[in-house]
Symmetry: C2
């Protein structure tokens, strides 16, 4: 069985749909590799063009600028993750077990998904950890929000928030707890690998411990009477 997964992206994110052409797919594939390797700050369209074997102008036909490309990649990731969550929590009735699964999916290193040929989810996951917050930590966050560029992130947060409310309808901060889980799944990973003294996982760098921490955090909060 060979499946192909296509994620419907907000069309305002790009000038030309990168998923519909060979060059577009190359832009996605190589930008993920380059940003993963050298970070978003030093990433330029010129370097990307050289890497692909096209010209700078060629890239600009797809994305207005590198920030839009980052928004695209990050939005793609959150959409993909929401799909993963709905896939893996399907048929599980107990919301507590579903929530546990969500935490696991958020905090576990991702393997490359064969269903998406031009996106390496494993690298993209690392990019979202290191660069994801830069998507919204800008002066134009409200404008970008008006364009619905953060919809996949907000949708995911809403899904998790609803799940938390399902576990405990009386819990007062489901959305904030949801965004806390999402952010901390990534920040604790980044800290563990780069500033380990900010975590309790520095010695063996075991992501299972991040999951335990988040489980403890979440279920302590919502299991109270």
């Amino acid at each position: 069985m060979e499946l192909q997964l296509q994620i419907k992206m907000n069309e305002a994110l790009f000038l030309r749909n990168p998923e519909q052409t060979e060059l577009g797919k190359k832009i996605l594939m190589h930008s993920i590799q380059l940003i993963y390797k050298n970070g978003f700050e030093t990433f330029t369209f010129k370097k990307l063009a050289k890497d692909i074997g096209t010209t700078e102008a060629g890239i600009y036909r797809y994305f207005e600028n590198k920030h839009r490309l980052l928004l695209y990649l990050v939005a793609w990731y959150w959409s993909w993750l929401e799909y993963q969550i709905s896939f893996h929590t399907n048929n599980i009735n107990d919301p507590l077990i579903r929530l546990k699964m969500v935490i696991k999916l958020l905090a576990t290193t991702v393997k490359d998904d064969e269903k998406t040929s031009y996106v390496n989810e494993s690298l993209l996951h690392q990019i979202v950890i290191s660069e994801g917050s830069k998507a919204y930590l800008t002066k134009h966050v409200s404008e970008d929000n008006r364009h619905h560029f953060f919809k996949p992130y907000k949708d995911l947060c809403a899904v998790i928030g609803d799940l938390i409310s399902e576990c405990n309808p009386k819990y007062k901060y489901p959305k904030s707890l949801a965004s806390t889980i999402i952010e901390m799944a990534h920040f604790q990973n980044f800290f563990m690998n780069n500033l380990p003294s900010l975590t309790d996982f520095g010695i063996n760098k075991d992501e299972a411990k991040i999951i335990s921490f988040l489980d403890d955090l979440v279920f302590s909060s919502i299991n109270k009477i």
Copy 2:
């Protein structure tokens, strides 16, 4: 009584000590204003120089580049906050009350501190909320860490972690919980003001609710048996 507060900064952060000259103090004062106003991305030494009435080269004599200046400002902020914490928790014996005070100090909008003439803590607090993570979310985080540029942040985290352990010696994740509190005090504030659907405080934008959320999160976690 007129006091002057001087924070001892890591000398590797600057080329020439900005606190020791008039121009240096202007650089700190005006960079805070400019970054607050336009964000770190569009902030340049050229604009800063023009704002101050000096030349670009003049700024470069103090800071190697704008990222070092950001590191300086953020490090300054965390040092200042640790001082605030030690000041406000002095004479409080109960670690639970001390921890509550810490959360309050982390999550409360800061007023300008008269004791530091050339740093507007209120604006700096907003900068740390919006730009603080960019200090370490880089490819050179390990190198910067080797230079001890994050020491004030790590020190603060250690102080809070120790306080958590004092509240409950059996709690397994004091450092991770500490970094979670610090980050979330800021992220929930940013979300509340810019992407309110990611929080439960969107309607009235009341930072007291952020404090309640963090209190609930922390004390649920550590008060278990």
